[in-house]
């Protein structure tokens, strides 16, 4: 079974069935300001699907902001703390799901597998929710994505029509197995639902202006020393929020925390936007200036990743645009370099 319909009233039953085996994470309210984050949910009433996107991306479920790698006692290792829990994530936007494929490349590649990320990723089922109302800061279609894309997801869910049914489409073996397992709750997808889905997908894509970024990498590579870097990043505060919220940024720090003789070796998110990120113990700093750090962020996503992974590491989710305290818009930076003679 590749495609199937679920009546909205049966979402509760589906969530309950999944929760028999694994916790379900979905966008849920975070505080009183209307923002959402991925949290374990108990019923369909907890799930928020109307927002443009969650405040924090889905990456934290696989690569937590802070996690213990191992425990030690005195000068010896006492325990390696590998994650063992499996999870199902419901309501991931296609931009976030697509970013997971790049995290897969980073944490699974380079000749060294990262067992912490891989353990969580291999046991998880990722159910994406198509995007019918992209926000003003969304630009997935400019970077090769689509509001109905299913890269990185095991399943794509969309609103099948006015009757409130949800169309589930399997995007992987795991997704097909999921539909089989819960077949009792689903009805076959009719032609009407499929047509409605196509119409909605193309309508959603048209709601975003697509930038033409053809040839951007070559322009960036030729402009390493361009004064534009300085000019465009003058207002940057170096707060790093763009990197923390980014679903594909994966930089981290490793540090030891101890109390008495016992302690933990912890991994936590870090950011290339911080001056001390690259500071050598000798005092030398290869990226001492803000413009070099912003260049690193942009080059990593739009040039270096093209070389190492064959794709840009930006899904156009727009979080960096929405959250920047000084309104730096990466679309403006990219366009400025793209438009260089």
């Amino acid at each position: 079974m590749d495609k199937a319909l679920l009546q909205k009233k049966d979402l509760d039953a589906l969530l309950a069935a999944i929760r028999m085996r694994a916790p379900v994470y979905a966008p849920a309210r975070d505080g009183g300001d209307g923002g959402t984050v991925f949290r374990p949910v108990e019923s369909a009433a907890d799930v928020c699907l109307g927002q443009v996107n969650t405040r924090l991306s889905v990456k934290g479920l696989f690569f937590p902001q802070r996690e213990s790698l191992m425990k030690f006692s005195g000068s010896a290792l006492s325990e390696v703390t590998l994650p063992t829990d499996s999870l199902v994530v419901f309501g991931v936007r296609p931009c976030d799901a697509r970013s997971l494929t790049w995290l897969d490349t980073v944490f699974g590649g380079g000749g060294h597998e990262d067992p912490y990320f891989q353990e969580r990723r291999k046991s998880a089922v990722v159910i994406a929710m198509a995007c019918d109302q992209p926000g003003a800061s969304c630009f997935c279609t400019s970077v090769g994505g689509s509001p109905y894309g299913s890269d990185g997801a095991d399943m794509l869910v969309s609103q099948a029509g006015a009757d409130g049914a949800l169309l589930f489409e399997a995007a992987s073996e795991k997704g097909r197995a999921f539909l089989e397992e819960h077949a009792g709750l689903f009805a076959p997808a009719n032609a009407q639902a499929r047509e409605a889905r196509e119409a909605r997908a193309s309508a959603a894509a048209k709601k975003m202006e697509a930038l033409d970024l053809t040839g951007l990498k070559e322009k960036l590579d030729a402009a390493l020393d361009s004064p534009l870097w300085d000019a465009l990043t003058k207002t940057c505060l170096g707060c790093g929020v763009c990197t923390y919220l980014c679903p594909s940024c994966h930089c981290f720090d490793i540090s030891d925390e101890k109390s008495g003789a016992d302690g933990v070796r912890v991994r936590s998110w870090d950011s290339c936007q911080y001056a001390r990120f690259t500071l050598h113990a000798s005092g030398h700093n290869p990226r001492p200036l803000k413009k070099a750090r912003m260049r690193q962020r942009v080059m990593h996503k739009f040039s270096y990743a093209q070389e190492t992974a064959g794709t840009a590491f930006c899904s156009g989710c727009g979080r960096c645009v929405r959250a920047c305290p000084v309104n730096l818009d990466i679309r403006g930076i990219l366009t400025a370099f793209k438009d260089l003679p």
């Binding site: 010896a76 302690g263 290869p286």
Partner: protein, 279 residues
Amino acid sequence: MKNPYVPLQVTIEDVVIENELRDIKTFRLSFERDEDRASFTYLPGQFAELSLFGTGESPIGIASSPTEEGYLLFSVKRTGVVTSELHASAPGRRMGVRGPLGRPFPWERLEGKNILIVSGGFAFTTLRSAITYVLDPAHRKMFGKITAVYGAREPGELLYKKSIAEWEASVDIEFTPTIDRQKDGWTGKVGLVPNVVKELEPSAENTLALVCGPPIMIKFTIPVLRELGFRDEDIILSLENRMKCGIGKCGRCNVGPLYVCNDGPVFSLAQLAKLPQEY
């Protein structure tokens, strides 16, 4: 799945103070488990993360050669938190080693070639590994002429003094130590490394140059090597950048699209010419 973040347990067997300033010490480490010793197969030019639980980790080049079996040597300069703690450690202390990491000197390309080694100051450590490796009787015939220039500010700052004496006396290597300024009691060469290389005029024919030293030495050595006829792809450098994971994931040691930890630390000058100078 092997967990690349988990250090192998080792014990400090011996500590040698290498210089008069007493800020560089060589640590001899032995593995606590036989299977770790057997699994740690490396070549000169690679590095490892030295791991002190409760303090942290520091990436350090491996100074021993794989031909020296049963132990690892690391020469460490006291600089930051981890290296200071290490300097305060005595034989018998248990600690961790994570590695070997990175790519070694290009040994497949080096075979059958003459080797010119140019080094200054503290950066000599992985070249000590390389020299010990090529001079091993089982390896020596795989290489042509071996020439080395190694400089320090003054005689007391030269590392591995006992080995230097042996290399100076050996017919298998033309080894020239040099110091920046004349000092009483020094009978060897006086002069900055690039000038001494210029004076020795080593042939570039069928030769690879391994160059490790402070940025200022490298800056002035490269024009000398180019003048001698070395092509950029035959000038081999070893970089260092701040690291955490050492396996190409944590994102901080990159120079352009290359990670110093995983794609390096050994690069040819030709590779680096196209990249931003972020090292």
